[in-house]
């Protein structure tokens, strides 16, 4: 029984973070939210200046506050990540030797050294990650899995004209999500069976642990492949042949609020990105400002 309880304990399928509610963000079309979320992540990766990352952060927070979701929820999202971020930032600031080249040393003690470049990269790292984490949260808290899949499918639909199998990709995600509980159930059964024969999955490391896990992994793959065949047969029996000639139960339409929201967001995000690239050294003149 230890295997079972331990196993159940370790299962944290944290995909469904959805909290039902009636904020403006909940009401928005999932497509709009997906675009916003993806743009935020991409901008966070692209920007290379502290002021731009700060502006992005302000943007996320204001989206959350402005739509009535509340900033509290977002900051709560940062909590589990914060300690790791801090550790990373410290490493970045003190211990990466590459950041010592062509840089002004601000502070030094034995092997630890802080330069202007390392400070910038540490702050950027925290800023970037905070923006991404909050973007994902504002999305996952206000959008159910189902809305997500339908949204992605509709968004990528136009790309079908150039050969991107949008519907098929959405179907893959659908089946993945549907298969997770089956996999959980089957694996639990396998572990119980192996545990009753004296296997203990929780212990050991390295090769010893591996030798315990192999008798679990191999049947897990085989059972899944067999289930896959059955799923395919059932889908075919219901006339499924892919996205062609398929219709949808729901006919989603974008509302005026959706257009307004996406317009406002693109304007703000675009401005930040533009500022990031435009205000180069030439404009700012001094080295310190350029880093910002």
């Amino acid at each position: 029984m230890t295997a079972r309880s331990e196993f159940e304990f370790s299962v944290k399928l944290s995909i469904g973070q959805f909290v039902p509610g009636s904020s403006l963000l909940h009401m928005l079309d999932p497509r709009v939210k997906i675009v916003v979320c993806v743009m935020l992540i991409v901008s966070a990766v692209l920007v290379g200046r502290i002021f731009a990352v700060t502006l992005l952060f302000v943007l996320v927070v204001s989206v959350l506050v402005g739509t009535g979701v509340g900033a509290g929820l977002a900051f709560r999202a940062l909590r589990p990540v914060a300690p790791f971020l801090a550790v990373l930032a410290v490493i970045q600031m003190f211990a990466i030797p590459q950041l010592r080249e062509n840089a002004v040393i601000v502070w030094e003690w034995r092997f630890l050294h802080m330069t202007d470049r390392s400070i910038v990269s540490g702050v950027l790292l925290i800023g970037r990650f905070a923006v991404i984490v909050m973007a994902l949260h504002l999305f996952s808290v206000t959008t159910s899995t189902n809305q997500l899949i339908h949204g992605v499918e509709q968004l990528v639909r136009p790309l079908e004209k150039i050969g991107v199998p949008a519907h098929e990709l959405a179907m893959v995600v659908h089946i993945s999500l549907r298969f997770l509980p089956i996999l959980l159930f089957e694996t639990e059964k396998l572990m119980m069976a192996q545990a009753s024969r004296g296997a203990d999955f929780g212990k050991g490391r390295g090769v010893r642990r591996l030798r315990r896990l192999f008798p679990l992994f191999v049947p897990m793959f085989l059972i899944s492949l067999r289930h896959a065949e059955a799923i395919a047969e059932s889908m075919e029996s219901r006339c499924y042949t892919g996205g062609r000639g398929r219709t949808s139960r729901l006919r989603p339409r974008l509302k005026r609020a959706d257009y307004l929201a996406i317009g406002a967001f693109i304007a703000a995000d675009g401005a930040i990105l533009a500022a990031n690239y435009l205000f180069s050294e030439a404009v700012w003149g001094s080295r310190a400002l350029c880093i910002l």
Binding site: V45, L88, V133, G206, L222, I231, A232
Partner: protein, 246 residues
């Protein structure tokens, strides 16, 4: 059976296994010095050799997207947080499947001896790739040491796992392409993830060779064994079931 439907379902199911292994932490095997080996990329390789490069890439996408989400929502260590960057989490994983499939396709056409040579070349290519990237991106101090460690790790991975498999499956050399493609897929994952981490200066380049050796090598061996056992049993079940009068 309709091929398209089967491909969609196998991609979905293998993607689910990858996510499951990550979410339950079953797919992480504690290794030495606090590091952990992973088998999360094995579904990608199996999907690729069974159903082709597109299925492999899609499973890789699911794998990558999951590490991104996990890094952002429920990280279990500082390393998880690095994967919030899609260039670290998603891009490298997209390449695992197609590489594994290409190597598998090539392997099916070749004889054993040729395969050994080719896998050696792959090892060298991966090594050169990391090396040249690091030359460009990080002014690192001991080229020779890194070239040596990375090179040794790649070549050793290929040889050791080939030997292991040869010892286990003396009679069925048709399984070699699966093994070599699994190694190639696994090394692709290691090489690309590590070099993107290096490019973002999350890990100093000097460390990367060592990590490639101590993590990449056993991961490749594990992926090879698991892929071969699963694929061999699966095709065995298929042919046996078809053989009996069901």
């Amino acid at each position: 059976m309709n091929e398209k439907v089967r491909k969609i379902v196998i991609a979905g199911v293998m993607g689910a296994i990858s996510v499951f292994l990550g979410a339950t932490h079953l797919g992480f095997i504690p290794w030495f010095a606090g590091a952990a080996l992973t088998v999360m990329h094995v579904p990608v390789i199996i999907g690729a050799v069974l159903e082709g490069p597109v299925v492999g890439a899609v499973i890789g996408l699911i794998f990558g997207a999951f590490s991104l989400i996990q890094g952002a929502i429920a990280p279990t260590g500082p390393a998880d947080v690095w994967f919030v960057n899609p260039l670290v989490s998603i891009l490298p994983r997209l390449c695992i499947g197609p590489v594994a499939w290409l190597v598998f396709r090539a392997g099916k056409k070749l004889k054993e001896g040729q395969l050994f040579i080719i896998s050696g070349f792959i090892g060298v290519a991966v090594n050169v790739f990391i090396w040249s990237l690091s030359q460009k991106l990080g002014g690192f101090e001991s080229d020779a040491v890194m070239v040596f460690t990375v090179g040794v790790s790649c070549v050793a991975a290929v040889t050791v796992s080939c030997l292991l498999l040869f010892w286990q499956y003396k009679k069925s050399s048709e399984l070699f392409p699966y093994a070599v493609s699994a190694i190639a897929g696994s090394m692709t994952n290691t090489a690309l993830v590590l070099s993107s981490l290096g490019a973002y200066k999350f890990i100093p380049w000097q460390l990367i060779g060592t990590i490639a050796l101590f993590n990449g090598l056993p991961e490749a061996v594990m992926a090879a064994i698991l892929t071969v056992v699963v694929v061999a049993t699966w095709s065995g079940i298929e042919s046996k079931r078809k053989g009996s009068s069901v």
